[in-house]
């Protein structure tokens, strides 16, 4: 039995009177890709900063790579790579210089790393100055520096927020390669669908506390699809079906959120009603939370 790479228990961090983290738990096992989800302002970045020893915890226990991130930050950091959500670069250094600098600061040798290959794959121009890069390109600089070496742990804070779909695919491939060689990844995001193809387990937080945690399979109820359809005939009766929520009919338009098991049944009903337009979107985390809270409140009653 190997010990977790990240182990956070009852973490509390307050800024003045505001409790950004309020008894948060997070466990990341070796070799897994762990999705760290939450809406904006939930405390994801704060947790990561405590994990990196940038912020001092007020209470709770934090273990990173088996050590104390506050006491031995620099030593532990040689074994991990970090990409912040909002990358800021030195305006007068070139992208290539920054990549090499960050690799060297982690104690690795850029010449022996995969930097060339990654610069190519992310189609990054390494001769541009830091001030000239767009948000997505700044993110690429940090990603290349992080993925070029073989760290034990990758901490990625909303790493794809500035990337286009093509680059997002490159990023997904790179993460898969990292995990294939045994790396552990903590991947934060505010969109479940963005990370669900990559992650093994997720922890969902809200207002500094854990709302849900477990394997993707165990969170089936989060896999609802929001369906909006326009029908020609009379709208089908969906409210009675177990697993269909939030049914709303407005004129010839029907909307509802559907659990995976009953999706075929709903689609059949819509087809029978003469569907002319159909959109299905994964629900936002906020919608899921609304569901989760309402369901829980309902169950208690």
């Amino acid at each position: 039995m190997t010990s977790p790479l990240i182990e956070v228990r009852g973490l509390v961090k307050a800024f003045g009177r505001f409790r950004a983290l309020d008894g948060l738990d997070l466990v990341v096992e070796p070799g897994e890709v762990h999705g760290f989800l939450g809406p904006n302002g939930a405390g994801k970045s704060t947790t990561i900063r405590v994990l990196l020893g940038l912020l001092r915890k007020d209470a709770g226990e934090v273990r990173l790579l088996g050590g104390d991130p506050w006491a031995d930050a620099a030593g532990l950091h040689r074994r991990l790579a970090y990409v912040p959500g909002d990358v800021s670069l030195w305006p007068n250094l070139s992208g290539g210089e920054i990549v090499d600098l960050l690799i060297r600061m982690r104690g690795a040798d850029p010449a022996a790393s995969r930097r060339e290959e990654l610069i190519e794959r992310f189609s990054l121009d390494p001769t541009k100055r830091g001030r000239a890069y767009s948000k997505g390109n700044r993110q690429k600089v940090a990603l290349v520096a992080a993925l070029a070496t073989d760290p034990d742990l990758l901490i990625l804070d909303e790493p794809t927020s500035g990337l286009d779909p093509l680059m997002e695919q490159v990023f997904n491939d790179c993460v898969a390669e990292q995990t294939a060689r045994g790396a552990t990844v903590l991947l934060s995001s505010h969109i479940l669908s963005e990370v669900e193809r990559l992650v093994d387990r997720v922890t969902i937080i809200r207002e500094g506390r854990v709302v849900e945690s477990g394997s993707l399979g165990s969170l089936r109820h989060l896999h609802r699809t929001k369906v909006v359809a326009t029908v020609t005939g009379p709208p089908p009766e969906l409210t009675g079906i177990d697993g269909v929520h939030d049914v709303a009919v407005a004129g010839d338009q029907v909307s509802c959120s559907v659990e995976p098991d009953v999706l075929p049944r709903v689609l059949r009903a819509l087809t029978d009603a003469g569907v002319t337009a159909l959109t299905s979107t994964p629900p936002s985390l906020e919608e899921l939370f609304l569901d989760a809270y309402r369901d829980r409140a309902g169950a208690r009653r």
Partner: protein, 518 residues
């Protein structure tokens, strides 16, 4: 030209400057009032006052620093000796800073882009900054004129003096607007502006001590030539707004020829790979500040050589006891007078380095570095060492420059000018360490790093003028520096100041290790 929405930006600018502008203008006006009010008590009657003015004119060194007194019978001209040129330079720095803050800095941070997406014209930031400078220059002029009248100087001269200060501020704003167009980097733009002001100051110093027409090339030379409290050249006051308008017009023209965020000087592509030497916090700090340090070094050397060449003129006066005492009243012998100001200015290099590290933190770059194998101690040490070593280096460069100039001008004997410059190092270190302590308390306290040197300079100057108690003026580290070469090296003060700096740095390091980052 499209300046739609500039009034909104002007209000935003005034709101953002609600502390900086009143504080800067307040200190300048206060200094002027203090100088005006203190002068009568310094001299026993007109005869002694005229003698003092003549003594100043007879010393090329003092003239090079402050400019000549064109009307020796005028009380106001004597009272404003330091104010006319030297303090106009401080006003100029303030106005360049204000203008740059609302133009190039905003562009570099991307906030201009945010504004540009709204219904605001392309030239609106430039126009708003220019109009704000005009308003502030007006306030500075009016308050200075009023202040000097309150200080006991005659009204007509005070109006002229207020106008010439306001005019200098306007020209500085014009320089700020124009230089802000040149480079995509706000720091490079600041370097250009500082260089321009430095050249104007040296032109005036050369003209005032040599061929007089050279002084007329510099607006700072006009400050003396206006003869505010003598036979005033009112027409010359028109030259300031005209020059400022030309500079601002040039800025608008340059703005129309470049893209948002770009400079006129094209950015060259950088290397695709990093040098193996660029591998830790120290080499990063050196790399980031190398150009700045080089420019500062050139400026310090040039200033040193120019004043070193003027310095031998002091020797002619040494047999005249009265004149010597008057020169002492003006801030000691030339070298110490220059060094007392240069040391404060060079301390701003330390402030720049520390302020830059604070920006690294608020922008999120420190987060990236501290997430690697770089420890907090190394990061902090890199900043502190570069700040303090850089300032010491610049003082040495100034000292060597003084010595070279002095030797080149066949000065009598070879003075211990390098030692004289070194004497200021411990005091500059204390102020640099105070800046580091501000950083250690939190990035939001780092704005204070810009305040310390100016505050201590103001304190010592006010102390002279108002005869403040010794314990109060003694709060300034600069007050404990022996005035070499006239005085001799004092191990006690050097050791004491260095010890204070070390203690401050120790406390700062201890705090920085224990606080939250970002």
């Amino acid at each position: 030209m499209s300046a739609t929405g500039w009034t909104l930006l002007l209000r935003l600018g005034l709101r953002r400057d609600r502390v900086l502008a009143p504080a800067g203008i307040g200190v300048l006006v206060l200094m002027s009032i203090a100088s005006a009010a203190a002068t009568p008590s310094l001299y026993d009657g007109p005869a002694e006052r005229i003698h003092a003015a003549e003594a100043i004119n007879a010393s090329p060194a003092i003239v090079a620093l402050y400019g000549p007194i064109l009307d020796v019978t005028s009380e106001g001209e004597l009272a404003m000796t330091k104010m006319t040129v030297l303090y106009a330079v401080f006003a100029a720095v303030l106005f360049v800073a204000v203008v740059r803050r609302h133009t190039r800095v905003e562009e570099e941070t991307g906030r201009t882009e945010l504004i540009g997406g709204t219904a605001v014209g392309r030239d609106a930031p430039l126009v708003a900054a220019g109009v704000e400078a005009l308003l502030l220059a007006g306030v500075l002029g009016v308050l200075t004129a009023l202040g000097n009248v309150i200080g006991g100087l005659d009204a007509g001269g005070s109006v002229a003096f207020g106008l010439l200060w306001g005019g200098s501020a306007l020209v500085a704003a014009g320089i700020g607007l124009l230089t802000a167009q040149l480079s995509a980097s706000a720091r490079t733009c600041a370097g250009f502006a500082a260089g321009a002001i430095g050249v104007l100051f040296v032109l005036r110093a050369v003209g005032d001590t040599g061929p007089q027409w050279v002084s007329w090339l510099s607006p700072l030379g006009w400050n003396t030539q206006v003869r505010a409290y003598g036979d005033t050249r009112w027409w010359l006051l028109l030259a300031y707004p005209l020059l400022a308008l030309a500079l601002a017009g040039g800025a608008v023209l340059l703005r129309s020829r470049r893209d948002l965020g770009a400079g006129l000087l094209a950015t060259r592509p950088g290397p695709a790979t990093g040098s193996p030497r660029l591998a830790d916090a120290f080499s990063l700090a050196v790399k980031v500040h190398a150009t700045t340090l080089l420019l500062w070094s050139v400026a310090a050397a040039a200033l040193g050589v120019v004043f070193g060449m003027i310095a031998p003129g002091v020797g002619d006066l040494l047999d005249n006891a009265t004149a010597q005492s008057i020169i002492d009243e003006l801030g000691g012998a030339l070298v110490s007078a220059i060094l007392s100001i240069v040391a404060v200015v060079l301390t701003y290099f330390a402030a720049t380095v520390v302020g830059h590290t604070a920006r690294d933190e608020t922008d999120g770059r420190v987060e990236i570095v501290l997430a690697t194998g770089v420890s907090r101690t190394r990061w902090f040490a890199a900043t502190a060492v570069l700040a303090l070593a850089g300032t010491a280096w610049l003082l040495v460069v100034t000292g060597v420059g003084l010595w070279v100039g002095y030797v080149a001008a066949d000065g009598p004997g070879i003075g211990n000018l390098v030692t004289a410059a070194l004497a200021w190092v411990p005091a500059a270190w204390v102020v640099g360490a105070l800046a580091a302590l501000c950083l250690a308390l939190g990035a939001r306290w780092a704005a204070l790093v810009w305040v310390w040197p100016a505050a201590f300079l103001t304190l010592s100057l006010l102390g002279d003028l108002l005869d403040l108690p010794g314990w109060l003026t003694g709060l300034s580290p600069y007050a404990h520096v022996p005035l070499l070469p006239a005085a001799s090296w004092d191990w006690g003060s050097a050791g004491g100041l260095t010890a204070v700096a070390v203690v401050l740095l120790g406390v700062a390091w201890w705090r920085f290790r224990a606080r939250d980052i970002g």
